[in-house]
Amino acid sequence: MPSKADILAQADRLHGFFRAAGGQPVHTAILQPAETLLDLYGEDIRARAYVTSDALRGEQMLRPDFTVPVVQMHMDSGADPARYTYMGEVFRRQERDPHRPNEYVQVGYELFDGADPAKADAEVFALFSEVLSPLGLRAATGDIGLLLAAVEGLSTSDKRKAALKRHLWRPRRFRALLDRFGGRAPVPETRKRLLAQLERKGVDAVMAAAGPEIGLRSAPDIKARLVALMQDAAEPAIAPAEAELLDDILGLRETCANALEHLRDIAVDLPSILPALDRMQARLDALSDQGIDVDLLDFEASYGRTTMEYYDGFVFGFYAETRPDLPPVASGGRYDALTRILGQGRAAPAVGGVVRPELVLALSEGAP
């Protein structure tokens, strides 16, 4: 196990690399207001972050990542384009595996540039690829934006599309929804009974029979969902051929060049993905310009679906194939939607990534 001093020296080296690439060094507080993070990530973040509190500021979290505070800082400054780099500890609560560190150093690079997203994606990926090149890692890439576009192209109601997009990051739940909307999973008995009652007695009578109204979820809330349930029941199932196209995309694992060709074939039947494919094409061109061999670069359409749900475009990770026990040495992606949420309407298209110096060090030591 490398010493903390060695890890910090390695972090310094990586930080220097990103500074030389134009990254302006920034610092963020270790204690972050819990409310913002909870609102973004929900209850899951509580299982993963240390929460503490004082009587004055309420709940605070030990910084679980840098992205959120860096985005907030950037939205306040309003500069565009902007490149930032940072290094420091992040803290992750561990409840299962005592061998996983609950505190480790990250070095990151974030690029805010709305002018040419493809070029920005390529710049960030190429920087990580370059700084990690001596380690011989495998790079994996994906595109969450492609998946969102594929869902958008299904011939079904906007409500169903929204439900699928909301659960894109929970593959099991996504699958269950797709099966239900495709008529492959049966409608639960209680739902059938409810729909029959609504049909027979009407919405108001069913609600009146159910007992007193209590709580903040009001009668109009309940009524709106009952109407939505009736509309959904009348909605035709997603055609098997369409569900298969989506499955085809989700299961796609190819080199980038081959993946794009295959996706172009799929787009004949699912034209909604065409803009995403044009973006992918532009990104691959930009990556080539940066000297990345896209004929060898892996593309996994489902990559990034089980991580934090703020990536909504290009995603990437670098792995040591000889050490499957290790987490990714570096990872990152595009998070335009996150900037929109934190900017309260204002967006600042952004892409970035982080690298873990102690893993770089462990792998460098293991190298011959």
């Binding site: 209850e43 899951d44 639960p188 007992g211 007193p212 903040l216 809330d221």
Partner: protein, 232 residues
């Protein structure tokens, strides 16, 4: 070294624990005055009886300060991280039954399953600007259960008592609480989701996997388990 056996220090849980041991051929009694927390196991030497609050027994088992302990399986699973690695359940004891369930207002006719809860939570958040709040004191169990079920857009709010009243008091929209008959839930106009059973709890005899053992302790443990005719 003595084998340390932790049992609840008062109330019905203590009485039922003593009865259960007696029914299994081991007599436990309190010693000293009514108010003194000390006790003894008759007929088997080498056992140190430790009277503890039932809520502290999980912690003592996990820390290895007691070898055996009687407490609710809900408390063990809620309070010990990675509990299966640190304690083992020797025998369910057949009392102290309680179900940890998710309950919502009965007027929510549109919500019967976790799927419904998830969809209602999404709409609630969009309409009210904050996540749907679920009041509970079982944060870990509830969070893991809802994560496995793929429920999003909720938040847990802590409630250490009178949890069933939180909905009416507008501090939560739903609850996750212990119930044995469902009576209190019904009285507070709440209903249990049809797939909302998180954990079926009962008093259980647990063995610590971390408590230091020597030959004496192992011998006493064998004697005790043999006397009680437990399978394990």
């Amino acid at each position: 070294m003595m084998l340390k056996l932790g049992v609840p220090s008062k109330g019905r849980l203590m009485e039922k624990t003593f009865d259960w041991f007696a029914g299994h051929g081991v007599n436990i009694r309190r010693t000293g005055s009514d108010r003194e927390y000390s006790g003894a196991v008759e007929g088997i030497s080498g056992i140190d009886l430790v009277l503890l609050s039932a809520g502290e027994i999980p912690r003592e088992l996990a820390a290895g300060r007691i070898h055996l302990g009687v407490t609710g399986s809900d408390l063990v699973q809620e309070r010990i991280a990675d509990w299966e690695a640190r304690v083992s359940a020797l025998e369910p004891m057949g009392f102290g039954f309680a179900d940890l369930v998710i309950a919502v207002p009965r007027c929510w006719v549109d919500v019967d399953t976790l799927d419904d809860l998830d969809a209602a939570a999404a709409a609630f958040r969009a309409a009210h600007g904050h996540r749907m709040r679920i009041a509970t004191k079982y944060h870990r169990l509830v969070r893991e259960f809802l994560r496995d079920a793929g429920v999003a857009d909720y938040s847990l709010v802590d409630s250490q008592g009178a949890t069933e009243g939180t909905v009416k008091n507008l501090t939560a929209e739903a609850v996750a609480d212990i119930t044995s008959t469902g009576e209190t839930l019904r009285a507070n106009h709440l209903k249990i989701l049809s797939d909302g059973l998180i954990h079926r709890s009962q008093a259980t005899l647990f063995k610590s996997r971390t408590a230091p053992c020597d030959d004496d302790v192992r011998a006493v443990l064998r004697t005790l388990i043999g006397r009680m005719e437990l399978g394990s």
